[in-house]
Symmetry: C2
Subunit: 120 residues, 2 copies
Protein backbone atom coordinates (compact mmCIF):
# COMPACT_ATOMS: atom_id res chain seq x y z
CA UNK A 1 0.00 0.00 0.00
CA UNK A 2 1.21 3.48 -0.91
CA UNK A 3 1.36 6.28 1.66
CA UNK A 4 2.47 9.90 1.89
CA UNK A 5 4.54 11.86 4.39
CA UNK A 6 4.42 15.66 4.28
CA UNK A 7 7.73 16.70 5.80
CA UNK A 8 8.13 20.21 7.25
CA UNK A 9 10.73 22.11 9.22
CA UNK A 10 8.90 22.54 12.53
CA UNK A 11 8.86 25.57 14.85
CA UNK A 12 8.58 26.41 18.52
CA UNK A 13 5.13 28.01 18.16
CA UNK A 14 2.51 25.26 17.91
CA UNK A 15 0.32 27.41 15.64
CA UNK A 16 3.03 27.19 12.96
CA UNK A 17 1.78 23.73 12.05
CA UNK A 18 -1.76 24.82 11.17
CA UNK A 19 -1.21 24.84 7.36
CA UNK A 20 0.40 21.40 7.66
CA UNK A 21 -2.66 20.07 9.48
CA UNK A 22 -4.80 21.61 6.73
CA UNK A 23 -2.66 19.89 4.07
CA UNK A 24 -3.14 16.53 5.78
CA UNK A 25 -6.91 17.12 5.99
CA UNK A 26 -7.09 18.09 2.29
CA UNK A 27 -5.14 14.97 1.39
CA UNK A 28 -7.47 12.74 3.44
CA UNK A 29 -10.55 14.31 1.82
CA UNK A 30 -9.15 13.73 -1.67
CA UNK A 31 -7.24 10.47 -1.22
CA UNK A 32 -9.08 8.51 1.45
CA UNK A 33 -7.37 5.24 0.43
CA UNK A 34 -3.82 6.57 0.73
CA UNK A 35 -2.76 7.24 4.32
CA UNK A 36 -0.87 10.45 5.10
CA UNK A 37 1.22 11.53 8.06
CA UNK A 38 3.02 14.76 8.82
CA UNK A 39 6.65 14.68 9.98
CA UNK A 40 8.99 17.42 11.15
CA UNK A 41 12.74 17.97 11.05
CA UNK A 42 12.91 19.65 14.46
CA UNK A 43 10.93 21.22 17.30
CA UNK A 44 7.70 19.35 16.41
CA UNK A 45 6.45 15.80 16.53
CA UNK A 46 6.30 13.29 14.95
CA UNK A 47 9.80 12.80 13.57
CA UNK A 48 10.29 11.25 10.14
CA UNK A 49 11.04 7.92 11.79
CA UNK A 50 7.89 8.06 13.91
CA UNK A 51 5.79 8.86 10.83
CA UNK A 52 7.31 5.95 8.88
CA UNK A 53 6.70 3.64 11.83
CA UNK A 54 3.07 4.76 12.09
CA UNK A 55 2.42 4.25 8.36
CA UNK A 56 4.18 0.89 8.45
CA UNK A 57 1.83 -0.17 11.25
CA UNK A 58 -1.08 0.88 9.01
CA UNK A 59 0.21 -1.47 6.29
CA UNK A 60 2.14 0.95 4.06
CA UNK A 61 4.84 -0.65 1.92
CA UNK A 62 5.72 2.28 -0.34
CA UNK A 63 6.05 5.74 1.20
CA UNK A 64 6.75 8.99 -0.64
CA UNK A 65 8.16 11.82 1.49
CA UNK A 66 7.31 15.28 0.11
CA UNK A 67 9.48 18.07 1.56
CA UNK A 68 7.11 20.97 2.26
CA UNK A 69 9.89 23.55 2.06
CA UNK A 70 10.32 26.46 -0.33
CA UNK A 71 14.08 26.46 -0.75
CA UNK A 72 16.54 23.61 -0.79
CA UNK A 73 19.28 24.67 1.62
CA UNK A 74 21.32 22.81 4.20
CA UNK A 75 18.31 21.13 5.82
CA UNK A 76 17.18 19.44 2.62
CA UNK A 77 20.59 18.96 1.01
CA UNK A 78 22.42 17.64 4.09
CA UNK A 79 20.17 16.72 7.04
CA UNK A 80 17.23 15.22 5.16
CA UNK A 81 19.09 12.58 3.06
CA UNK A 82 20.79 11.29 6.23
CA UNK A 83 17.44 11.06 8.05
CA UNK A 84 15.86 9.29 5.09
CA UNK A 85 18.72 6.80 4.83
CA UNK A 86 18.51 6.06 8.56
CA UNK A 87 14.76 5.43 8.20
CA UNK A 88 15.34 3.17 5.21
CA UNK A 89 17.80 1.09 7.28
CA UNK A 90 15.35 0.84 10.17
CA UNK A 91 12.46 -0.15 7.87
CA UNK A 92 14.13 -2.28 5.19
CA UNK A 93 10.83 -3.75 3.97
CA UNK A 94 9.41 -0.33 3.12
CA UNK A 95 10.25 1.37 -0.14
CA UNK A 96 10.97 4.99 0.83
CA UNK A 97 11.08 7.62 -1.90
CA UNK A 98 11.20 11.37 -2.00
CA UNK A 99 10.57 14.34 -4.30
CA UNK A 100 12.03 17.80 -4.82
CA UNK A 101 10.85 20.47 -2.38
CA UNK A 102 7.37 21.80 -3.17
CA UNK A 103 8.97 25.21 -3.86
CA UNK A 104 10.51 23.66 -6.99
CA UNK A 105 7.05 23.11 -8.48
CA UNK A 106 5.92 25.76 -10.94
CA UNK A 107 2.23 25.37 -10.07
CA UNK A 108 2.98 26.00 -6.39
CA UNK A 109 4.96 29.12 -7.32
CA UNK A 110 2.15 30.29 -9.63
CA UNK A 111 -0.37 29.87 -6.79
CA UNK A 112 1.84 32.20 -4.70
CA UNK A 113 1.91 34.71 -7.57
CA UNK A 114 -1.88 34.49 -7.88
CA UNK A 115 -2.26 35.05 -4.12
CA UNK A 116 0.06 38.08 -4.36
CA UNK A 117 -1.90 39.41 -7.36
CA UNK A 118 -5.14 39.28 -5.38
CA UNK A 119 -3.47 40.95 -2.40
CA UNK A 120 -1.83 43.94 -4.00
CA UNK B 1 2.68 53.46 -7.72
CA UNK B 2 2.01 50.03 -6.22
CA UNK B 3 4.82 47.55 -5.58
CA UNK B 4 5.30 44.08 -4.07
CA UNK B 5 7.80 42.60 -1.63
CA UNK B 6 8.06 38.82 -1.36
CA UNK B 7 9.39 38.26 2.14
CA UNK B 8 11.16 35.00 3.01
CA UNK B 9 13.06 33.56 5.94
CA UNK B 10 16.55 33.31 4.42
CA UNK B 11 19.15 30.56 4.86
CA UNK B 12 22.90 30.08 4.94
CA UNK B 13 22.99 28.12 1.66
CA UNK B 14 22.69 30.56 -1.25
CA UNK B 15 20.83 27.98 -3.35
CA UNK B 16 17.94 28.19 -0.88
CA UNK B 17 16.78 31.41 -2.55
CA UNK B 18 16.32 29.88 -6.01
CA UNK B 19 12.50 29.52 -5.75
CA UNK B 20 12.33 33.11 -4.50
CA UNK B 21 14.27 34.33 -7.54
CA UNK B 22 11.87 32.30 -9.70
CA UNK B 23 8.89 33.93 -7.96
CA UNK B 24 10.29 37.40 -8.66
CA UNK B 25 10.87 36.46 -12.33
CA UNK B 26 7.32 35.10 -12.66
CA UNK B 27 5.94 38.29 -11.13
CA UNK B 28 7.96 40.48 -13.52
CA UNK B 29 6.77 38.46 -16.52
CA UNK B 30 3.13 38.80 -15.47
CA UNK B 31 3.10 42.28 -13.89
CA UNK B 32 5.71 44.31 -15.71
CA UNK B 33 4.24 47.60 -14.44
CA UNK B 34 4.36 46.67 -10.75
CA UNK B 35 7.89 46.46 -9.36
CA UNK B 36 8.82 43.56 -7.09
CA UNK B 37 11.69 43.00 -4.69
CA UNK B 38 12.61 40.05 -2.50
CA UNK B 39 13.44 40.60 1.17
CA UNK B 40 14.67 38.24 3.87
CA UNK B 41 14.31 38.06 7.63
CA UNK B 42 17.82 36.76 8.25
CA UNK B 43 20.97 35.33 6.65
CA UNK B 44 20.18 36.75 3.18
CA UNK B 45 20.06 40.16 1.56
CA UNK B 46 18.25 42.46 1.04
CA UNK B 47 16.56 43.14 4.36
CA UNK B 48 12.96 44.37 4.42
CA UNK B 49 14.21 47.93 4.94
CA UNK B 50 16.59 47.69 1.99
CA UNK B 51 13.79 46.38 -0.24
CA UNK B 52 11.43 49.19 0.82
CA UNK B 53 14.20 51.72 0.18
CA UNK B 54 14.86 50.30 -3.28
CA UNK B 55 11.17 50.35 -4.24
CA UNK B 56 10.79 53.85 -2.85
CA UNK B 57 13.67 54.98 -5.08
CA UNK B 58 11.78 53.43 -8.02
CA UNK B 59 8.76 55.59 -7.20
CA UNK B 60 6.63 53.14 -5.19
CA UNK B 61 4.13 54.77 -2.84
CA UNK B 62 2.07 51.71 -1.83
CA UNK B 63 3.92 48.48 -1.01
CA UNK B 64 2.35 45.12 -0.12
CA UNK B 65 4.61 42.70 1.73
CA UNK B 66 3.65 39.04 1.16
CA UNK B 67 5.18 36.64 3.71
CA UNK B 68 6.36 33.61 1.72
CA UNK B 69 6.18 31.31 4.73
CA UNK B 70 4.07 28.22 5.29
CA UNK B 71 3.32 28.55 8.98
CA UNK B 72 2.79 31.60 11.13
CA UNK B 73 5.06 31.06 14.11
CA UNK B 74 7.28 33.36 16.13
CA UNK B 75 8.97 34.91 13.09
CA UNK B 76 5.72 36.14 11.56
CA UNK B 77 3.81 36.79 14.77
CA UNK B 78 6.58 38.57 16.68
CA UNK B 79 9.59 39.58 14.55
CA UNK B 80 7.83 40.59 11.35
CA UNK B 81 5.34 43.14 12.76
CA UNK B 82 8.21 44.94 14.55
CA UNK B 83 10.28 45.03 11.34
CA UNK B 84 7.30 46.31 9.38
CA UNK B 85 6.55 49.03 11.93
CA UNK B 86 10.21 50.14 11.91
CA UNK B 87 10.09 50.37 8.12
CA UNK B 88 6.86 52.35 8.23
CA UNK B 89 8.51 54.85 10.59
CA UNK B 90 11.55 55.18 8.34
CA UNK B 91 9.42 55.63 5.19
CA UNK B 92 6.41 57.62 6.44
CA UNK B 93 5.34 58.63 2.93
CA UNK B 94 4.95 55.02 1.82
CA UNK B 95 1.80 53.07 2.59
CA UNK B 96 3.05 49.67 3.76
CA UNK B 97 0.59 46.78 3.94
CA UNK B 98 0.85 43.07 4.45
CA UNK B 99 -1.09 39.83 3.96
CA UNK B 100 -1.39 36.48 5.74
CA UNK B 101 1.40 33.99 5.03
CA UNK B 102 1.03 32.25 1.67
CA UNK B 103 0.55 28.97 3.56
CA UNK B 104 -2.85 30.31 4.69
CA UNK B 105 -4.07 30.36 1.08
CA UNK B 106 -6.17 27.36 0.07
CA UNK B 107 -5.04 27.50 -3.58
CA UNK B 108 -1.38 27.33 -2.49
CA UNK B 109 -2.17 24.33 -0.28
CA UNK B 110 -4.12 22.67 -3.10
CA UNK B 111 -1.14 23.13 -5.43
CA UNK B 112 0.99 21.26 -2.85
CA UNK B 113 -1.63 18.49 -2.72
CA UNK B 114 -1.62 18.30 -6.54
CA UNK B 115 2.19 18.10 -6.57
CA UNK B 116 2.05 15.30 -3.97
CA UNK B 117 -0.63 13.48 -5.99
CA UNK B 118 1.60 13.52 -9.08
CA UNK B 119 4.58 12.33 -7.02
CA UNK B 120 3.15 9.37 -5.19
Amino acid sequence: MKALILFGHGARDGRWREPFDRLASLWREQHSNTPVELAFLEMMQPSLEEAVSSLSAQGATQITVVPVFFGQGGHLRNDFPVLLEDCQKKFPKISLGTTPAVGEDLAVLQAIIDFSTKSI
